[in-house]
């Protein structure tokens, strides 16, 4: 019991150090009782403190206050693994094997060869876990109970997957491209985390094998020395510690494609990945239009200033953001927020909105993004069995005193 109290105190100390005092109340940490899980801040080796969801495999999300910057710091970038064996890959020993039954001449490349032989490309793109905000679904669904922090925006630098595949020669029968990383399960019987892409997405000029993130080598926990970047698609395809790419004439039928990361066809737009679709389900692919308020939290009390500022970020699957509207009265009236610098259609877009409060008391703040394609956020999340694609308009009550 003493040990547990000490532990909570320690976690509370780290949170307070982050300036997230109000978080203590929101998470219930200050009054942690019963079955409610306390918020625990913990730092993986080489990382700064993040919100721990699970220790092993490591699943950690970024506190929302770090989303105030256009690019998320590498040492605060979220961490997500499916399997617990995560070798520390040495750059000099790393090899990427390009193979598969629909490839003309298999290749094995070193990091040096990759950097030397292919044109460097840099893209700003949001990396977003498919299950981000899963904990906000009602009724609750099983899976890592992510809050809003399983995402981050970064500048990714590497080479095009299509250039590497062209060097090996793609056969006429190619249908999908599978991706494997160095991580694996503890037991040999556990399915390896392998994903596949439709050929067209693998050959998209924006699909990269990245070595750098925000001008630095990838952190170990974010895929060192190389990972896939599929701008606009959720992070499940962004294979970390990439070791093998196989061009295949058949649809990959492993657990992580056939069973996991799937969404019902009748509730989401299909057509992105026909070789993996069945009558009723398809793989999750493109991110939906979404936004997040980053500078105030639900239940927060604030001193009533002459001008109050609401800040946040907005993104979609690659069309770009057309507008963000903010309401301060629970959706009765909406006002245009100002969009900040555009770093490209795959980056999130920062926005801000100022208003002059005419009275003290509670304000129900909402933000709604619309993409260049005309899609906009729903008021309620779209129910689906695994709790993906939560993109409902947030409802945040602040109290001005």
């Amino acid at each position: 019991m003493n040990e547990r109290r000490h532990f909570i105190k320690k976690a509370a100390g780290s949170l307070a150090a982050l300036g997230g005092l109000s978080l203590l109340h929101r998470s219930g940490l200050a009054v942690a009782t019963g079955e409610e899980e306390a918020t625990i801040m913990d730092a993986l080796p080489g990382k700064e403190a993040l919100i721990k969801k699970t220790y092993r495999p490591p699943n950690y999300e970024t506190p929302v206050n770090y989303f105030d910057a256009p690019f998320t710091p590498n040492n605060r970038f979220f961490v997500r693994y499916h399997n617990a064996v995560i070798p520390e890959v040495k750059a000099g020993e790393w090899r990427l094997r390009i193979g598969g039954d629909a490839l003309r001449s298999p290749l094995e490349l070193t990091l040096e060869q990759m950097r030397r032989d292919f044109k460097p490309v840099e893209i700003a793109a949001l990396c977003l876990c498919s299950g981000n905000r899963r904990s906000f679904f009602e009724p609750k669904v099983p899976g890592i109970q992510w809050g809003s922090g399983a995402m981050g925006n970064a500048r990714w630098r590497g080479v095009r997957l299509k250039d590497v595949l062209a060097a090996a020669g793609i056969g006429k029968s190619a249908l999908e491209v599978s991706l494997d990383g160095a991580d694996s399960g503890v037991l040999k019987t556990t399915p390896d985390f392998i994903k596949s892409l439709p050929l067209a997405k693998a050959l998209d000029e924006n699909t990269l094998i990245a070595f750098e993130m925000n001008g630095e080598p990838l952190p170990h926990w974010n895929g060192f020395p190389a990972r896939l970047i599929i701008p606009g698609w959720t992070a499940t395809y962004w294979m970390k510690h990439l070791t093998a790419v196989n061009v295949m004439s058949k649809a990959f039928d492993g657990f992580w494609m056939k069973t996991a990361y799937r969404i019902p066809k009748d509730r989401f737009t299909s057509g992105q990945f026909s070789s993996q679709e069945t009558g009723s389900a398809m793989p999750i692919t493109e991110m939906l239009v979404n936004s997040l308020i980053t500078n105030v939290e639900d239940g927060q009390s604030l001193p009533a200033n002459k001008a109050m500022e609401i800040k946040g970020v907005a993104w979609d699957g690659g069309n770009g953001i057309a507008q963000v509207e903010v309401s301060t009265n629970g959706g009765v009236t909406w006002h245009q927020a100002t969009l900040k610098q555009d770093y490209g259609r795959f980056s999130w877009r920062q926005w801000h909105f100022s208003f002059e409060p005419k009275r003290l008391g509670a304000y129900l703040i909402m933000a709604r993004a619309t993409s260049q394609s005309g899609a906009s956020q729903p008021l309620e999340p779209i129910p689906n069995p695994s709790g993906y694609h939560h993109n409902a308009v947030q409802k945040i009550t602040i109290k001005l005193a």
């Binding site: 040990e3 721990k52 617990a84 609750k140 099983p142 109970q145 037991l187 019987t189 399915p191």
Partner: protein, 91 residues
């Protein structure tokens, strides 16, 4: 027995310092849960689902761990584990 020894040492080698602070409820079945479930993952995967899974949900989850994730849990232990989870971490 030999398998069990190998597995325990594997767990000891991979458990993180943080997860050792997670204390599961001290009720019958806890030993089986630690011995089997914690081979592959920390027990916060269990506590995190306490308000989410009912008995049917825990049955489905343990079944998934055995049939899909390859957990080597025999039918006898499976029932003990499901009972422990449903009784102590059930919705």
């Amino acid at each position: 027995m030999r398998t069990l020894l190998v597995l325990s040492s594997l767990f000891a080698a991979t458990a993180t310092a943080g997860e050792n602070q997670i204390i599961l409820k001290d009720r019958p079945g806890k030993n089986q849960v630690i011995a089997q479930c914690a081979i592959c993952h920390s027990p916060d995967y269990i506590t995190q689902h306490a308000t989410i899974l009912d008995r049917a949900g825990w049955e489905k989850t343990v079944g998934k761990m055995i049939n899909i994730m390859g957990a080597p849990i025999n039918d006898y232990d499976k029932q003990i584990i499901i009972d422990y989870l449903a009784q102590n971490y059930g919705k």
